[in-house]
Symmetry: C2
Subunit: 121 residues, 2 copies
């Protein structure tokens, strides 16, 4: 294994990559892509609250990093399909558990927040 890479180092390229992954939209997109190829607007509707600009930017970066693929179909109107690459698939388990961890522990988190806020008063 290449020990030249270390996420704790400031200028290591892995830092940039971690920054890309450590993004709520990136995680939701990768999680949503797990079940197969999806079109742009379908993604936009499924991931409630994401803007077109941010979705477009995020997809472009993920494509550049080789995590997702982009296929254009000459339909009318044009259709664009996004899918996970094999490299992207190596992340699905991790992404899934991170993206859904909150759903399973939200009650405990909310309780902790209430207790913390009460103590601060």
């Amino acid at each position: 294994m290449n020990s030249a890479y270390d996420v704790y180092e400031d200028k290591c390229p892995t830092r940039q990559m971690l920054e890309r992954l450590a993004d709520k939209w990136t995680l939701l997109i990768l999680d949503r892509l797990e079940s197969g190829p999806i079109r742009f607007n379908r993604l936009r509707r499924d991931i409630k609250g994401i803007s077109q600009k941010v979705l477009s930017q995020t997809l472009k970066k993920l494509e550049r990093d080789g995590l997702i693929s982009r296929r254009v179909f000459a339909t009318v109107p044009v259709t664009v399909e996004y899918d996970l690459t094999p490299l992207g698939r190596t992340l699905t388990e991790t992404v899934r558990s991170l993206a859904h961890w909150a759903e399973h522990h939200m009650d405990a988190i909310l309780a902790s927040q209430s207790a913390y806020d009460a103590a601060v008063l």
Copy 2:
């Protein structure tokens, strides 16, 4: 399981929580805490590039969410120790794999980026 929570929903509290987790500093902090309690400045030195302000803010939020604990020792100068809570420990496996995924796939990512950039020209 509480099906009222859904990270794909815009106003679901899990979204806020995902946003907290999906942060490079949060991930690095949680990963660093895995091996036991650590003081503030030790964290700051280990996680290269983090500012005091951001470290302080992030730790405070994680404490409020119940993922880490904060203990103050009346030494001179004062010592503050941060540690994972049992709730925080439920995340360690996931955090570790996400934080270190880049280290194991960086070569493939860099190759993909080069190919992408060459194609755009």
